[in-house]
C-alpha cells in the first residue's frame, strides 16, 4: 500500500502538517539518458493531513496560499509556518471567516491566485460558494441561483490575516439541489479555478452546474471562462457573441477546473472534465465555443432527466462512450465557432482536475509542455487512471504531438497543479496532500 511506502521512505520533520519525504524517483522511459535531456523527476510530500486541498498560489519567496474546500484559505510561509486566514461558515481557528461561505459536493472554497502586483498591493483573489447573493433565485434547480463568487482581499504584511473583502464577481451560478443525474448532488460542475494571465487579467473557470441551458446561454456565467480585471470588469478586448455578457472569454464548457497559459505565446489552454466520455484539453479562442450543449429538445434529442442531457442516453446504465459522445458531444461540430479539442483522452473520461505548463530548463525536454491532473474516475469499462499527464501540444493548439504519464511511481487524485517559484510543480490531491515534484 502507498501508506506503508510513504512511511518507509519519508523523513520526519517537526510538524505533521509539513514534511518532506522523497517517495519517488523515475525517468519517463526507464532508461539512462542517452543524449536527450530527460530529467529525473522526484515527488516529495510538501504538506500532509489537509482536508481536500484544492488550489495553491505562490509568491516569489516560496510563500504558498492554499485552499481546503470545506475549511478555507491558509498560507504556508517561506519559513514553513502555517496561518489560517479566512474560513468558511462555522470553521474554527481562522483569523476571520465568511458567514456566507459554505461547501456542498463539488462546491466550496476553490481557486486562489495572487495579483500580478502583489508585492505592491497585497491583493489576493479567491473563488468560493456563497449564499450572499441568492436573492429569490435559488428555490429550484431551474433558476439562476447566483451561488459562486470571486472575492478580493488584502493580505497583511505578516501573512497572518486578510482584510478588505470585496466581492468582484457575484453572479456565477450554483446548483442548489439534488437532481436526477448520476452525480446528482448539489454543487455539481462548479468550475472554480482562478489564474492570472497575460497583462495581469484574472481568468475564472466555470461549470454547467447540471443545467442544460447554461453553456450556450449568453447571460448566464455557468459553463464559461471569464476574463476580467481586478475589479471584476470585462477585459476590453473580450469578444463573445453579440448579446453575451462581456466578461465571457469563451463559452460552451462543461466543467473547467484547469487553465494555464502557454509560456511561448501566452495562449490559454483548458483542461475540461468530460461526462462518460472525452476529457478535453482545448486551446481557447477569444469568443469561441467549446461545444458543450446538454440542453434537451435540440440537436435531435428529446426530453432528458431534469432537462439535462449530459449523461444520456440511458444515463444510469452502461453505454459505449462513443454512443454517448454522439448523443451529446463534448465538442459539438454543429457550432461554427467551435474550438476543437487538442486531446480527448481517447474518447474516455477519467476526470481532469488542474493544468499547468512546466517552466524552467530543469524540466529538460518537458519544458513548456502542459500537465494535467487526471483523477482516475472509472465507471463502466473505463480504466482507472489517477495520474499527471504531460502533453506536447502542437503550435496551433489543435492537436498534441504526444501525451505521456508523469513517472511518479504512485497514483493519487491530482486536483490542483501549479508551478512554484523554484520551478517545481506542486500538486494537491483529494487525499489530503500537496506534493512538490522536482525535475533535474
Amino acid at each position: 500500500m502507498m501508506n506503508k511506502y510513504f512511511t518507509a521512505f519519508s523523513t520526519v520533520t517537526a510538524s505533521a502538517a509539513m514534511l518532506v519525504g522523497f517517495i519517488s524517483t523515475a525517468q519517463a522511459d526507464g532508461h539512462a539518458n542517452k543524449g536527450m535531456n530527460i530529467p529525473t523527476i522526484e515527488a516529495a510530500e510538501f504538506m500532509t493531513g489537509l482536508e481536500n486541498p484544492w488550489d495553491m498560489a505562490f509568491l516569489p519567496d516560496g510563500t504558498m496560499f492554499y485552499t481546503e474546500k470545506c475549511k478555507g484559505l491558509s498560507v504556508r510561509t517561506s519559513s514553513g509556518d502555517v496561518n489560517a486566514l479566512y474560513g468558511m461558515k462555522d470553521t474554527e481557528g481562522y483569523s476571520d471567516a465568511g458567514s456566507d461561505l459554505f461547501c456542498d459536493g463539488q462546491a466550496g472554497m476553490l481557486g486562489v491566485v495572487a495579483d500580478r502586483n502583489f508585492a505592491k498591493n497585497r491583493t489576493l483573489y479567491l473563488y468560493s460558494t456563497s449564499n450572499k447573493y441568492y436573492g429569490d433565485g435559488c428555490k429550484t434547480n431551474f433558476e439562476k441561483c447566483d451561488g459562486n463568487i470571486v472575492m478580493k482581499f488584502t493580505v497583511s504584511e505578516d501573512l497572518k490575516s486578510v482584510s478588505d473583502r470585496t466581492d468582484i464577481v457575484t453572479d456565477i451560478q450554483y446548483k442548489p439541489f439534488e437532481s436526477d443525474q448520476p452525480f446528482g448532488g448539489p454543487g455539481a460542475h462548479n468550475g472554480g479555478r482562478l489564474r492570472v494571465g497575460p497583462g495581469g487579467y484574472l481568468w475564472v473557470t466555470g461549470g454547467d452546474r447540471h443545467r442544460g441551458i447554461c453553456p450556450q446561454d449568453g447571460q448566464l456565467l455557468c459553463g464559461k471562462v471569464l476574463r476580467i480585471d481586478g475589479d471584476g470588469n470585462a477585459h476590453p478586448e473580450n469578444n463573445p457573441p453579440e448579446g453575451f455578457d462581456k466578461r465571457i472569454y469563451t463559452y460552451g464548457h462543461r466543467n473547467v477546473q484547469g487553465i494555464d497559459f502557454r509560456p511561448s505565446d501566452g495562449r490559454a489552454f483548458t483542461a475540461e472534465h468530460g461526462p462518460w466520455h472525452n476529457d478535453e484539453i482545448t486551446a481557447l479562442v477569444n469568443g469561441g465555443n467549446a461545444g458543450w450543449d446538454p440542453a434537451e429538445k435540440i440537436a435531435g434529442r428529446g426530453e432528458c432527466p431534469d432537462k439535462y442531457c449530459g449523461y444520456e442516453p440511458n444515463q444510469m446504465d452502461a453505454v459505449d462512450p462513443a454512443v454517448r459522445a454522439a448523443y451529446t458531444p463534448m465538442s459539438d461540430t454543429r457550432f461554427e465557432d467551435l474550438m476543437p479539442a487538442a486531446w480527448n483522452n481517447n474518447g474516455l473520461s477519467q476526470g481532469t482536475g488542474s493544468a499547468a505548463f512546466l517552466k524552467g530548463s530543469n524540466w529538460g525536454i518537458y519544458e513548456g509542455r502542459l500537465t494535467a491532473g487526471i483523477m482516475g474516475i472509472a465507471f463502466g469499462d473505463t480504466p482507472a487512471g489517477s495520474r499527471i499527464d504531460i502533453y506536447d501540444l502542437a503550435a496551433d493548439g489543435l492537436s498534441i504531438k504526444s501525451a505521456i504519464q508523469m513517472p511518479l511511481g504512485f497514483s493519487k487524485r491530482f486536483r490542483g497543479l501549479v508551478m512554484g517559484p523554484d520551478n517545481a510543480l506542486y500538486a494537491a490531491t483529494d487525499e489530503g496532500e500537496i506534493y512538490q515534484i522536482t525535475a533535474k
Binding site: G105, G187, Q315, A378, R413, E431
Partner: protein
C-alpha cells in the same frame, strides 16, 4: 449472517479494485465522496445491500447502485469487514 465473518484481506483487495477510485485510500473519503471507513459491519452491509437492490438513499445513489449491483454476499461481507477497521495514515 455472513457480515460478521468477512475476510478483511479479501475485502481490501476488492475495495482497491473499484471503490478506491471515488472513496479514496482506506475509505477515508475524498472530494465529494464520503468517508466510509469505521462504520459498523451491519451498517455497511445494509447500505451495500440496499444499493444492490436498486434503492436510492442519497444524491449519488445512482452511482452506488451501479457499483453495488455486481457484488456478491461474500464480497459485501468482506468489504464491510475491511472498512470497519480501515484507517488512512
Amino acid at each position: 449472517m455472513q457480515a460478521s465473518s468477512g475476510d478483511i484481506e479479501a475485502g481490501e483487495t476488492r475495495y482497491n479494485k473499484t471503490c478506491v477510485n471515488c472513496h479514496g485510500p482506506a475509505g477515508k473519503g475524498v472530494a465529494s465522496y464520503p468517508k466510509i471507513s469505521g462504520q459498523e459491519i451491519a451498517y455497511t452491509t445494509s447500505k451495500l445491500e440496499t444499493y444492490r437492490d436498486g434503492i436510492k438513499i442519497g444524491p449519488n445513489s445512482s452511482l452506488m447502485i451501479m457499483m453495488a449491483k455486481p457484488l456478491t454476499d461474500e464480497e459485501i461481507a468482506n468489504l464491510a469487514a475491511y472498512l470497519k477497521q480501515a484507517t488512512y495514515e
